[in-house]
Protein backbone atom coordinates (compact mmCIF):
# COMPACT_ATOMS: atom_id res chain seq x y z
CA UNK A 1 0.00 0.00 0.00
CA UNK A 2 1.17 3.53 -0.78
CA UNK A 3 2.48 5.43 2.20
CA UNK A 4 0.00 8.03 3.26
CA UNK A 5 -2.97 6.13 1.86
CA UNK A 6 -5.08 5.22 4.85
CA UNK A 7 -6.83 1.92 4.77
CA UNK A 8 -10.46 2.53 5.48
CA UNK A 9 -12.05 0.10 7.89
CA UNK A 10 -14.92 -1.82 6.27
CA UNK A 11 -18.34 -0.95 7.58
CA UNK A 12 -19.70 -3.36 10.15
CA UNK A 13 -23.34 -3.12 9.17
CA UNK A 14 -23.47 -3.95 5.49
CA UNK A 15 -26.78 -4.80 3.87
CA UNK A 16 -27.16 -8.61 3.49
CA UNK A 17 -23.51 -9.10 4.38
CA UNK A 18 -22.87 -12.45 6.08
CA UNK A 19 -21.30 -12.37 9.54
CA UNK A 20 -19.22 -14.91 11.42
CA UNK A 21 -21.40 -17.74 12.83
CA UNK A 22 -20.04 -17.07 16.30
CA UNK A 23 -20.97 -13.41 16.07
CA UNK A 24 -24.44 -14.45 15.00
CA UNK A 25 -24.80 -16.84 17.92
CA UNK A 26 -23.59 -14.30 20.46
CA UNK A 27 -25.97 -11.66 19.14
CA UNK A 28 -28.85 -14.14 19.29
CA UNK A 29 -27.99 -15.08 22.86
CA UNK A 30 -27.79 -11.42 23.86
CA UNK A 31 -31.43 -10.85 22.95
CA UNK A 32 -32.49 -13.74 25.21
CA UNK A 33 -30.29 -12.38 27.99
CA UNK A 34 -31.86 -8.95 27.55
CA UNK A 35 -35.38 -10.37 27.77
CA UNK A 36 -34.57 -12.35 30.90
CA UNK A 37 -32.81 -9.31 32.39
CA UNK A 38 -35.86 -7.09 31.92
CA UNK A 39 -38.02 -9.86 33.33
CA UNK A 40 -35.76 -10.24 36.35
CA UNK A 41 -35.77 -6.50 36.95
CA UNK A 42 -39.54 -6.17 36.74
CA UNK A 43 -40.33 -9.16 38.92
CA UNK A 44 -37.75 -8.69 41.67
CA UNK A 45 -37.93 -4.91 42.03
CA UNK A 46 -41.52 -5.22 43.17
CA UNK A 47 -42.85 -3.07 40.35
CA UNK A 48 -45.04 -5.95 39.23
CA UNK A 49 -46.90 -8.25 41.55
CA UNK A 50 -45.22 -11.71 41.44
CA UNK A 51 -48.66 -13.27 41.04
CA UNK A 52 -48.79 -11.65 37.59
CA UNK A 53 -45.13 -12.01 36.78
CA UNK A 54 -43.21 -14.58 38.80
CA UNK A 55 -39.42 -14.17 38.83
CA UNK A 56 -37.47 -16.23 36.30
CA UNK A 57 -35.83 -18.41 38.94
CA UNK A 58 -39.27 -19.45 40.24
CA UNK A 59 -40.34 -20.38 36.73
CA UNK A 60 -37.11 -22.30 36.22
CA UNK A 61 -37.64 -24.24 39.44
CA UNK A 62 -41.22 -24.98 38.41
CA UNK A 63 -39.96 -26.11 34.99
CA UNK A 64 -37.67 -28.69 36.58
CA UNK A 65 -40.38 -29.83 38.96
CA UNK A 66 -42.76 -30.38 36.07
CA UNK A 67 -40.19 -32.06 33.84
CA UNK A 68 -39.46 -34.39 36.74
CA UNK A 69 -43.04 -35.64 36.83
CA UNK A 70 -44.22 -38.38 34.51
CA UNK A 71 -47.67 -36.79 34.46
CA UNK A 72 -46.28 -33.69 32.72
CA UNK A 73 -44.48 -35.81 30.17
CA UNK A 74 -47.81 -37.46 29.49
CA UNK A 75 -49.24 -34.02 28.67
CA UNK A 76 -46.29 -33.26 26.42
CA UNK A 77 -46.69 -36.62 24.68
CA UNK A 78 -50.38 -36.23 23.96
CA UNK A 79 -49.87 -32.67 22.65
CA UNK A 80 -47.06 -33.74 20.35
CA UNK A 81 -49.22 -36.60 19.14
CA UNK A 82 -52.11 -34.25 18.34
CA UNK A 83 -49.94 -31.72 16.55
CA UNK A 84 -48.22 -34.29 14.39
CA UNK A 85 -51.42 -36.20 13.59
CA UNK A 86 -53.22 -33.07 12.44
CA UNK A 87 -50.17 -31.82 10.60
CA UNK A 88 -49.45 -35.17 8.92
CA UNK A 89 -53.06 -35.51 7.84
CA UNK A 90 -53.03 -32.00 6.35
CA UNK A 91 -49.78 -32.81 4.50
CA UNK A 92 -50.92 -36.20 3.23
CA UNK A 93 -53.98 -34.69 1.56
CA UNK A 94 -52.87 -31.09 1.08
CA UNK A 95 -49.54 -31.60 -0.69
CA UNK A 96 -50.81 -33.79 -3.55
CA UNK A 97 -53.87 -31.57 -3.93
CA UNK A 98 -51.72 -28.45 -4.00
CA UNK A 99 -49.40 -29.92 -6.62
CA UNK A 100 -52.42 -30.86 -8.71
CA UNK A 101 -53.90 -27.37 -8.38
CA UNK A 102 -50.60 -25.81 -9.40
CA UNK A 103 -50.12 -28.07 -12.39
CA UNK A 104 -53.32 -27.98 -14.44
CA UNK A 105 -55.59 -25.00 -14.93
CA UNK A 106 -58.71 -27.14 -14.67
CA UNK A 107 -57.69 -28.45 -11.28
CA UNK A 108 -56.71 -24.93 -10.23
CA UNK A 109 -60.20 -23.74 -11.16
CA UNK A 110 -61.80 -26.64 -9.32
CA UNK A 111 -59.72 -26.45 -6.17
CA UNK A 112 -58.41 -22.97 -5.52
CA UNK A 113 -61.44 -20.66 -5.38
CA UNK A 114 -63.10 -23.10 -2.99
CA UNK A 115 -60.01 -23.25 -0.77
CA UNK A 116 -59.71 -19.47 -0.80
CA UNK A 117 -63.31 -19.24 0.34
CA UNK A 118 -62.94 -21.68 3.22
CA UNK A 119 -59.58 -20.23 4.19
CA UNK A 120 -61.28 -17.00 5.16
CA UNK A 121 -63.45 -18.78 7.70
CA UNK A 122 -61.46 -18.67 10.93
CA UNK A 123 -60.54 -22.18 12.04
CA UNK A 124 -61.50 -21.31 15.60
CA UNK A 125 -65.06 -20.62 14.49
CA UNK A 126 -65.28 -24.28 13.50
CA UNK A 127 -64.88 -25.42 17.12
CA UNK A 128 -68.60 -25.65 17.95
CA UNK A 129 -69.24 -27.52 14.74
CA UNK A 130 -66.29 -29.83 15.32
CA UNK A 131 -67.61 -30.66 18.75
CA UNK A 132 -70.99 -31.51 17.30
CA UNK A 133 -69.37 -33.67 14.62
CA UNK A 134 -66.49 -35.29 16.42
CA UNK A 135 -67.39 -34.91 20.09
CA UNK A 136 -64.64 -34.02 22.50
CA UNK A 137 -62.35 -36.97 21.84
CA UNK A 138 -58.94 -36.99 20.20
CA UNK A 139 -60.37 -36.70 16.70
CA UNK A 140 -61.81 -33.25 17.40
CA UNK A 141 -58.39 -31.82 18.35
CA UNK A 142 -56.77 -33.35 15.32
CA UNK A 143 -59.58 -32.09 13.12
CA UNK A 144 -59.14 -28.52 14.33
CA UNK A 145 -55.41 -28.58 13.64
CA UNK A 146 -56.15 -30.09 10.25
CA UNK A 147 -58.63 -27.33 9.41
CA UNK A 148 -56.21 -24.68 10.58
CA UNK A 149 -53.41 -25.97 8.33
CA UNK A 150 -54.95 -27.72 5.36
CA UNK A 151 -56.52 -24.96 3.27
CA UNK A 152 -53.58 -22.66 3.54
CA UNK A 153 -51.18 -25.51 2.76
CA UNK A 154 -52.99 -26.40 -0.46
CA UNK A 155 -52.82 -22.81 -1.67
CA UNK A 156 -49.17 -22.41 -0.78
CA UNK A 157 -48.12 -25.67 -2.44
CA UNK A 158 -50.11 -24.76 -5.56
CA UNK A 159 -48.26 -21.46 -5.68
CA UNK A 160 -44.87 -23.14 -5.30
CA UNK A 161 -45.71 -25.53 -8.10
CA UNK A 162 -46.74 -22.74 -10.42
CA UNK A 163 -43.52 -20.87 -9.78
CA UNK A 164 -41.23 -23.65 -11.03
CA UNK A 165 -39.42 -22.06 -14.01
CA UNK A 166 -41.35 -23.08 -17.09
CA UNK A 167 -38.17 -23.56 -19.07
CA UNK A 168 -37.21 -26.45 -16.78
CA UNK A 169 -40.43 -28.13 -17.76
CA UNK A 170 -39.86 -27.33 -21.44
CA UNK A 171 -36.33 -28.72 -21.21
CA UNK A 172 -37.69 -32.00 -19.86
CA UNK A 173 -40.23 -32.18 -22.69
CA UNK A 174 -37.53 -31.69 -25.31
CA UNK A 175 -35.62 -34.51 -23.60
CA UNK A 176 -38.56 -36.81 -24.15
CA UNK A 177 -40.49 -36.55 -20.88
CA UNK A 178 -44.21 -37.25 -20.97
CA UNK A 179 -46.56 -35.06 -18.93
CA UNK A 180 -46.52 -37.41 -15.96
CA UNK A 181 -42.79 -37.89 -16.17
CA UNK A 182 -42.38 -34.12 -16.19
CA UNK A 183 -44.55 -33.75 -13.09
CA UNK A 184 -42.66 -36.51 -11.35
CA UNK A 185 -39.14 -35.70 -12.44
CA UNK A 186 -39.32 -31.91 -12.61
CA UNK A 187 -42.21 -30.26 -10.76
CA UNK A 188 -42.14 -32.42 -7.64
CA UNK A 189 -38.34 -32.46 -7.51
CA UNK A 190 -38.07 -28.72 -8.02
CA UNK A 191 -40.44 -27.64 -5.24
CA UNK A 192 -38.93 -29.77 -2.44
CA UNK A 193 -36.71 -27.21 -0.67
CA UNK A 194 -39.42 -24.55 -0.77
CA UNK A 195 -41.98 -27.10 0.32
CA UNK A 196 -39.89 -27.91 3.37
CA UNK A 197 -39.87 -24.21 4.15
CA UNK A 198 -43.64 -24.03 3.84
CA UNK A 199 -44.06 -27.05 6.09
CA UNK A 200 -41.95 -25.41 8.79
CA UNK A 201 -44.26 -22.44 8.67
CA UNK A 202 -47.40 -24.54 8.76
CA UNK A 203 -46.12 -26.64 11.63
CA UNK A 204 -45.85 -23.43 13.63
CA UNK A 205 -49.53 -22.81 13.01
CA UNK A 206 -50.33 -26.38 14.02
CA UNK A 207 -48.94 -25.62 17.49
CA UNK A 208 -51.11 -22.53 17.70
CA UNK A 209 -54.26 -24.48 16.85
CA UNK A 210 -53.23 -27.20 19.27
CA UNK A 211 -53.36 -24.81 22.17
CA UNK A 212 -56.69 -23.45 20.95
CA UNK A 213 -58.03 -27.01 20.77
CA UNK A 214 -56.72 -27.85 24.22
CA UNK A 215 -58.17 -24.77 25.87
CA UNK A 216 -61.67 -26.14 25.38
CA UNK A 217 -63.09 -29.25 26.95
CA UNK A 218 -60.09 -31.45 27.46
CA UNK A 219 -58.27 -32.92 30.39
CA UNK A 220 -54.87 -33.55 28.88
CA UNK A 221 -52.17 -31.76 26.94
CA UNK A 222 -50.04 -28.66 27.40
CA UNK A 223 -52.93 -26.32 26.66
CA UNK A 224 -54.88 -28.02 29.42
CA UNK A 225 -52.03 -27.55 31.94
CA UNK A 226 -52.06 -23.85 31.12
CA UNK A 227 -55.83 -23.63 31.59
CA UNK A 228 -55.66 -25.52 34.85
CA UNK A 229 -52.82 -23.33 36.13
CA UNK A 230 -54.86 -20.25 35.35
CA UNK A 231 -57.70 -21.51 37.50
CA UNK A 232 -55.36 -21.73 40.47
CA UNK A 233 -53.56 -18.50 39.59
CA UNK A 234 -50.40 -20.57 39.27
CA UNK A 235 -48.59 -18.22 36.89
CA UNK A 236 -45.31 -20.12 37.19
CA UNK A 237 -46.97 -23.08 35.58
CA UNK A 238 -48.48 -20.95 32.81
CA UNK A 239 -45.01 -19.74 31.98
CA UNK A 240 -43.67 -23.28 32.05
CA UNK A 241 -46.37 -24.34 29.57
CA UNK A 242 -45.51 -21.45 27.25
CA UNK A 243 -41.80 -22.16 27.44
CA UNK A 244 -42.21 -25.88 26.80
CA UNK A 245 -44.39 -25.22 23.75
CA UNK A 246 -41.87 -22.66 22.53
CA UNK A 247 -39.02 -25.12 22.99
CA UNK A 248 -40.85 -27.94 21.21
CA UNK A 249 -41.59 -25.63 18.31
CA UNK A 250 -38.00 -24.44 18.19
CA UNK A 251 -36.60 -27.96 18.28
CA UNK A 252 -38.83 -29.28 15.47
CA UNK A 253 -38.10 -26.18 13.42
CA UNK A 254 -34.35 -26.60 13.81
CA UNK A 255 -34.60 -30.29 12.91
CA UNK A 256 -36.50 -29.44 9.76
CA UNK A 257 -34.05 -26.70 8.83
CA UNK A 258 -31.20 -29.14 9.30
CA UNK A 259 -32.93 -31.80 7.21
CA UNK A 260 -33.52 -29.25 4.50
CA UNK A 261 -29.82 -28.50 4.28
CA UNK A 262 -28.84 -32.15 4.38
CA UNK A 263 -31.43 -33.39 1.90
CA UNK A 264 -31.19 -30.60 -0.63
CA UNK A 265 -27.57 -29.48 -0.82
CA UNK A 266 -28.14 -28.36 -4.38
CA UNK A 267 -30.60 -25.61 -3.49
Amino acid sequence: MEPGVKKRAPQRLQIYKAIHPQAFLLTAISSFVLLIGVWLLLSTSGVVNPIFLPPPQAVLTELFVQLGSSEYWGHIGISVFRVFSGFALACAIGIPLGILAGTFKYSEAFIEPLMEFIRYMPAVAFIPLIMVWAGIGESSKILLIFIGCFFQLVLMVADLTRRVPHDLLHASFTLGASRWQAIDSVLIKAIRPQLMHTLRLILGWAWTYLVVAELVAVNSGLGYTIMKAQRFLNTEQIFVGLIVIGLLGLITDRIMAYLNKRMFPWA
Partner: protein, 282 residues
Protein backbone atom coordinates in the same frame (compact mmCIF):
# COMPACT_ATOMS: atom_id res chain seq x y z
CA UNK B 1 -36.99 -21.19 -49.79
CA UNK B 2 -40.46 -20.37 -51.06
CA UNK B 3 -41.73 -17.82 -53.47
CA UNK B 4 -42.88 -15.57 -50.71
CA UNK B 5 -39.54 -15.47 -49.02
CA UNK B 6 -37.77 -14.80 -52.28
CA UNK B 7 -40.21 -12.04 -53.03
CA UNK B 8 -39.44 -10.37 -49.78
CA UNK B 9 -35.74 -10.51 -50.57
CA UNK B 10 -36.47 -8.70 -53.81
CA UNK B 11 -38.69 -6.22 -52.03
CA UNK B 12 -35.75 -5.26 -49.97
CA UNK B 13 -33.65 -4.72 -53.05
CA UNK B 14 -31.14 -7.46 -52.48
CA UNK B 15 -31.86 -9.52 -55.58
CA UNK B 16 -28.74 -8.25 -57.29
CA UNK B 17 -26.42 -9.29 -54.50
CA UNK B 18 -24.26 -12.08 -55.72
CA UNK B 19 -24.02 -13.77 -52.37
CA UNK B 20 -27.73 -14.30 -52.05
CA UNK B 21 -28.47 -17.86 -52.98
CA UNK B 22 -31.63 -19.08 -54.54
CA UNK B 23 -31.52 -21.71 -51.82
CA UNK B 24 -31.44 -24.43 -54.43
CA UNK B 25 -30.10 -27.09 -52.12
CA UNK B 26 -32.83 -27.08 -49.50
CA UNK B 27 -35.54 -27.02 -52.15
CA UNK B 28 -34.06 -30.08 -53.85
CA UNK B 29 -33.80 -31.81 -50.54
CA UNK B 30 -37.27 -31.05 -49.34
CA UNK B 31 -38.77 -34.10 -51.02
CA UNK B 32 -36.39 -36.59 -49.53
CA UNK B 33 -33.65 -35.41 -47.24
CA UNK B 34 -34.93 -32.38 -45.35
CA UNK B 35 -35.06 -32.94 -41.65
CA UNK B 36 -37.17 -29.94 -40.79
CA UNK B 37 -39.58 -28.19 -43.08
CA UNK B 38 -41.36 -24.98 -42.19
CA UNK B 39 -44.18 -24.30 -44.62
CA UNK B 40 -46.19 -21.10 -44.82
CA UNK B 41 -46.03 -20.53 -41.10
CA UNK B 42 -47.76 -17.52 -39.60
CA UNK B 43 -47.95 -16.72 -35.92
CA UNK B 44 -50.35 -14.27 -34.35
CA UNK B 45 -50.75 -13.62 -30.67
CA UNK B 46 -54.37 -12.82 -30.02
CA UNK B 47 -55.45 -11.13 -26.84
CA UNK B 48 -58.87 -9.75 -26.01
CA UNK B 49 -57.89 -6.25 -27.03
CA UNK B 50 -55.52 -6.74 -29.92
CA UNK B 51 -53.82 -9.09 -32.31
CA UNK B 52 -50.08 -9.08 -32.66
CA UNK B 53 -48.57 -10.56 -35.79
CA UNK B 54 -45.27 -12.09 -34.72
CA UNK B 55 -44.38 -14.09 -37.84
CA UNK B 56 -45.53 -13.82 -41.43
CA UNK B 57 -45.25 -16.56 -44.00
CA UNK B 58 -42.12 -18.36 -42.95
CA UNK B 59 -40.82 -21.00 -45.34
CA UNK B 60 -37.61 -22.78 -44.61
CA UNK B 61 -36.09 -26.20 -44.70
CA UNK B 62 -33.17 -27.67 -42.90
CA UNK B 63 -31.16 -30.55 -44.34
CA UNK B 64 -29.61 -33.45 -42.50
CA UNK B 65 -26.30 -32.61 -40.79
CA UNK B 66 -26.73 -28.99 -41.70
CA UNK B 67 -25.78 -26.14 -39.39
CA UNK B 68 -28.28 -23.38 -40.12
CA UNK B 69 -28.46 -20.12 -38.24
CA UNK B 70 -31.36 -17.74 -38.10
CA UNK B 71 -29.98 -14.27 -37.61
CA UNK B 72 -32.15 -11.34 -36.70
CA UNK B 73 -32.57 -8.41 -34.36
CA UNK B 74 -34.07 -8.99 -30.96
CA UNK B 75 -37.86 -9.16 -30.99
CA UNK B 76 -38.17 -10.29 -34.62
CA UNK B 77 -39.68 -13.63 -33.64
CA UNK B 78 -36.70 -15.99 -33.66
CA UNK B 79 -37.58 -17.65 -30.38
CA UNK B 80 -41.19 -17.94 -31.43
CA UNK B 81 -40.14 -19.78 -34.57
CA UNK B 82 -37.76 -22.09 -32.73
CA UNK B 83 -40.34 -22.87 -30.07
CA UNK B 84 -42.72 -23.95 -32.81
CA UNK B 85 -40.09 -26.30 -34.21
CA UNK B 86 -39.60 -27.64 -30.70
CA UNK B 87 -43.36 -28.12 -30.42
CA UNK B 88 -43.61 -25.81 -27.42
CA UNK B 89 -45.84 -23.44 -29.40
CA UNK B 90 -48.28 -23.87 -32.28
CA UNK B 91 -48.36 -21.95 -35.56
CA UNK B 92 -51.52 -19.96 -36.26
CA UNK B 93 -51.28 -20.99 -39.91
CA UNK B 94 -49.06 -23.32 -41.92
CA UNK B 95 -47.24 -26.41 -40.81
CA UNK B 96 -43.92 -27.69 -39.56
CA UNK B 97 -42.58 -31.12 -40.44
CA UNK B 98 -39.82 -33.32 -39.16
CA UNK B 99 -38.78 -36.08 -41.55
CA UNK B 100 -42.04 -35.50 -43.39
CA UNK B 101 -44.23 -35.83 -40.32
CA UNK B 102 -46.14 -32.95 -38.84
CA UNK B 103 -44.82 -31.68 -35.55
CA UNK B 104 -47.27 -32.01 -32.68
CA UNK B 105 -45.86 -31.07 -29.33
CA UNK B 106 -42.34 -31.50 -28.05
CA UNK B 107 -40.38 -34.72 -28.32
CA UNK B 108 -37.00 -36.30 -27.79
CA UNK B 109 -36.22 -36.03 -31.52
CA UNK B 110 -35.80 -32.26 -31.14
CA UNK B 111 -33.34 -31.45 -28.39
CA UNK B 112 -33.12 -27.86 -27.25
CA UNK B 113 -30.62 -25.61 -25.54
CA UNK B 114 -32.19 -22.49 -24.06
CA UNK B 115 -30.73 -19.04 -23.52
CA UNK B 116 -31.41 -19.13 -19.79
CA UNK B 117 -29.92 -21.80 -17.59
CA UNK B 118 -32.19 -24.82 -17.59
CA UNK B 119 -30.10 -27.53 -16.00
CA UNK B 120 -32.03 -29.35 -13.32
CA UNK B 121 -30.54 -27.90 -10.14
CA UNK B 122 -31.27 -31.01 -8.06
CA UNK B 123 -29.29 -33.29 -10.39
CA UNK B 124 -25.51 -33.48 -10.61
CA UNK B 125 -23.79 -32.73 -13.89
CA UNK B 126 -23.68 -36.45 -14.66
CA UNK B 127 -27.32 -36.97 -13.76
CA UNK B 128 -28.32 -34.03 -15.91
CA UNK B 129 -26.57 -35.58 -18.90
CA UNK B 130 -28.20 -38.94 -18.18
CA UNK B 131 -31.68 -37.47 -17.72
CA UNK B 132 -33.02 -38.17 -21.23
CA UNK B 133 -31.50 -41.65 -21.64
CA UNK B 134 -32.78 -42.59 -18.19
CA UNK B 135 -36.34 -41.64 -19.17
CA UNK B 136 -35.84 -43.77 -22.25
CA UNK B 137 -35.01 -46.69 -19.97
CA UNK B 138 -31.34 -47.05 -20.88
CA UNK B 139 -29.60 -49.47 -18.45
CA UNK B 140 -27.37 -47.91 -15.79
CA UNK B 141 -24.02 -49.16 -17.11
CA UNK B 142 -24.71 -47.99 -20.62
CA UNK B 143 -25.81 -44.64 -19.26
CA UNK B 144 -22.60 -44.37 -17.27
CA UNK B 145 -20.41 -44.84 -20.32
CA UNK B 146 -22.57 -42.42 -22.31
CA UNK B 147 -22.22 -39.70 -19.68
CA UNK B 148 -18.50 -40.42 -19.41
CA UNK B 149 -18.20 -39.84 -23.13
CA UNK B 150 -20.03 -36.52 -22.94
CA UNK B 151 -18.21 -35.39 -19.84
CA UNK B 152 -14.97 -35.79 -21.72
CA UNK B 153 -16.31 -34.06 -24.83
CA UNK B 154 -17.22 -30.99 -22.80
CA UNK B 155 -14.08 -31.40 -20.65
CA UNK B 156 -15.90 -31.41 -17.33
CA UNK B 157 -14.88 -34.84 -16.03
CA UNK B 158 -13.88 -33.39 -12.68
CA UNK B 159 -17.30 -31.82 -12.29
CA UNK B 160 -19.32 -35.01 -12.77
CA UNK B 161 -20.58 -34.91 -9.19
CA UNK B 162 -21.02 -31.13 -8.99
CA UNK B 163 -24.41 -29.46 -8.87
CA UNK B 164 -25.29 -26.75 -11.42
CA UNK B 165 -25.04 -23.98 -8.84
CA UNK B 166 -21.33 -24.77 -8.53
CA UNK B 167 -20.70 -24.16 -12.24
CA UNK B 168 -19.93 -20.99 -14.18
CA UNK B 169 -22.31 -19.83 -16.91
CA UNK B 170 -20.14 -21.29 -19.67
CA UNK B 171 -19.89 -24.66 -17.92
CA UNK B 172 -23.65 -24.75 -17.46
CA UNK B 173 -24.24 -24.26 -21.16
CA UNK B 174 -21.67 -26.93 -22.00
CA UNK B 175 -23.60 -29.35 -19.82
CA UNK B 176 -26.88 -28.25 -21.40
CA UNK B 177 -25.45 -29.04 -24.85
CA UNK B 178 -24.18 -32.41 -23.67
CA UNK B 179 -27.52 -33.18 -22.03
CA UNK B 180 -29.36 -32.42 -25.27
CA UNK B 181 -26.94 -34.38 -27.48
CA UNK B 182 -26.61 -37.39 -25.17
CA UNK B 183 -30.27 -37.99 -25.94
CA UNK B 184 -29.42 -38.40 -29.66
CA UNK B 185 -31.98 -35.98 -31.09
CA UNK B 186 -32.48 -35.70 -34.84
CA UNK B 187 -32.11 -31.93 -34.56
CA UNK B 188 -30.48 -29.72 -32.00
CA UNK B 189 -32.31 -26.43 -31.50
CA UNK B 190 -30.33 -23.63 -29.90
CA UNK B 191 -31.88 -20.35 -28.82
CA UNK B 192 -29.09 -17.82 -28.27
CA UNK B 193 -27.36 -20.30 -25.98
CA UNK B 194 -24.27 -18.14 -25.51
CA UNK B 195 -26.10 -14.82 -25.26
CA UNK B 196 -25.42 -14.41 -21.55
CA UNK B 197 -21.71 -15.26 -21.67
CA UNK B 198 -18.73 -12.92 -21.75
CA UNK B 199 -16.91 -12.51 -25.08
CA UNK B 200 -14.00 -14.80 -24.22
CA UNK B 201 -16.15 -17.67 -22.94
CA UNK B 202 -18.50 -17.21 -25.84
CA UNK B 203 -15.72 -17.82 -28.37
CA UNK B 204 -14.52 -20.91 -26.53
CA UNK B 205 -18.06 -22.25 -26.50
CA UNK B 206 -18.46 -21.58 -30.22
CA UNK B 207 -15.28 -23.49 -30.98
CA UNK B 208 -16.35 -26.37 -28.81
CA UNK B 209 -19.78 -26.46 -30.45
CA UNK B 210 -18.23 -26.58 -33.94
CA UNK B 211 -15.93 -29.37 -32.85
CA UNK B 212 -18.86 -31.36 -31.53
CA UNK B 213 -20.95 -30.68 -34.61
CA UNK B 214 -18.18 -31.84 -36.94
CA UNK B 215 -17.58 -34.96 -34.90
CA UNK B 216 -21.17 -35.97 -34.18
CA UNK B 217 -22.66 -34.85 -37.49
CA UNK B 218 -25.68 -33.41 -35.76
CA UNK B 219 -28.25 -31.25 -37.46
CA UNK B 220 -28.35 -27.84 -35.81
CA UNK B 221 -30.83 -25.00 -36.00
CA UNK B 222 -29.20 -22.09 -34.23
CA UNK B 223 -30.57 -18.69 -33.33
CA UNK B 224 -28.63 -15.54 -32.65
CA UNK B 225 -28.54 -11.79 -33.12
CA UNK B 226 -24.72 -11.90 -33.16
CA UNK B 227 -23.36 -11.64 -36.72
CA UNK B 228 -19.91 -12.93 -35.83
CA UNK B 229 -21.34 -15.95 -34.14
CA UNK B 230 -23.63 -16.70 -37.08
CA UNK B 231 -20.82 -16.61 -39.63
CA UNK B 232 -18.34 -18.51 -37.51
CA UNK B 233 -20.69 -21.40 -36.84
CA UNK B 234 -22.96 -21.83 -39.80
CA UNK B 235 -23.05 -23.36 -43.20
CA UNK B 236 -26.08 -21.30 -44.02
CA UNK B 237 -27.52 -18.11 -42.54
CA UNK B 238 -31.10 -16.97 -42.86
CA UNK B 239 -31.67 -13.34 -41.98
CA UNK B 240 -34.92 -12.33 -40.37
CA UNK B 241 -36.49 -8.90 -40.44
CA UNK B 242 -39.03 -7.33 -38.12
CA UNK B 243 -42.50 -5.94 -38.34
CA UNK B 244 -43.84 -8.67 -38.62
CA UNK B 245 -41.08 -11.25 -38.43
CA UNK B 246 -40.19 -12.55 -41.86
CA UNK B 247 -37.28 -14.13 -43.71
CA UNK B 248 -35.38 -11.39 -45.48
CA UNK B 249 -32.31 -12.98 -47.01
CA UNK B 250 -30.24 -16.09 -47.13
CA UNK B 251 -26.50 -16.63 -47.33
CA UNK B 252 -24.33 -19.64 -47.77
CA UNK B 253 -21.17 -19.44 -45.70
CA UNK B 254 -18.34 -20.79 -47.84
CA UNK B 255 -15.65 -21.02 -45.25
CA UNK B 256 -13.60 -24.20 -44.88
CA UNK B 257 -14.54 -26.89 -42.37
CA UNK B 258 -12.47 -27.27 -39.24
CA UNK B 259 -12.76 -23.55 -38.58
CA UNK B 260 -10.61 -22.04 -35.87
CA UNK B 261 -10.53 -18.58 -34.35
CA UNK B 262 -8.30 -17.42 -37.27
CA UNK B 263 -11.19 -17.77 -39.68
CA UNK B 264 -12.46 -14.47 -38.32
CA UNK B 265 -9.64 -12.78 -40.26
CA UNK B 266 -10.55 -14.54 -43.52
CA UNK B 267 -11.52 -12.05 -46.28
CA UNK B 268 -14.75 -13.95 -47.00
CA UNK B 269 -15.64 -13.78 -43.33
CA UNK B 270 -15.08 -10.05 -43.23
CA UNK B 271 -16.95 -9.47 -46.48
CA UNK B 272 -19.96 -11.39 -45.27
CA UNK B 273 -19.83 -9.66 -41.93
CA UNK B 274 -19.89 -6.27 -43.64
CA UNK B 275 -22.84 -7.28 -45.75
CA UNK B 276 -24.82 -8.67 -42.86
CA UNK B 277 -24.11 -5.63 -40.71
CA UNK B 278 -25.40 -3.45 -43.49
CA UNK B 279 -28.48 -5.59 -43.90
CA UNK B 280 -29.31 -5.65 -40.22
CA UNK B 281 -29.06 -1.90 -39.90
CA UNK B 282 -32.23 -1.50 -41.93
Amino acid sequence: MSQAARRSIQDMGFEDKASIKEAARPVQQSATRARIEIQGVHKRYVSRKSTFEALRDINLSLGSNEFLTILGPSGCGKSTLLRMVAGLDEPTEGQLLIDGEEIHGPGADRGMVFQGYTLFPWLTVRENIEYGPKLQGMPTLERRSLSNHWLSVIRLEQFAQAYPKQLSGGMKQRVAIARALANRPKVLLMDEPFGALDAQTKQEMQEMLLEVWEREKTTVLFITHDIDEAIFLSQRIVVMGTGPGHLAAEYEVKLPEGRTADVREHPDFLALKRELSHLLKH
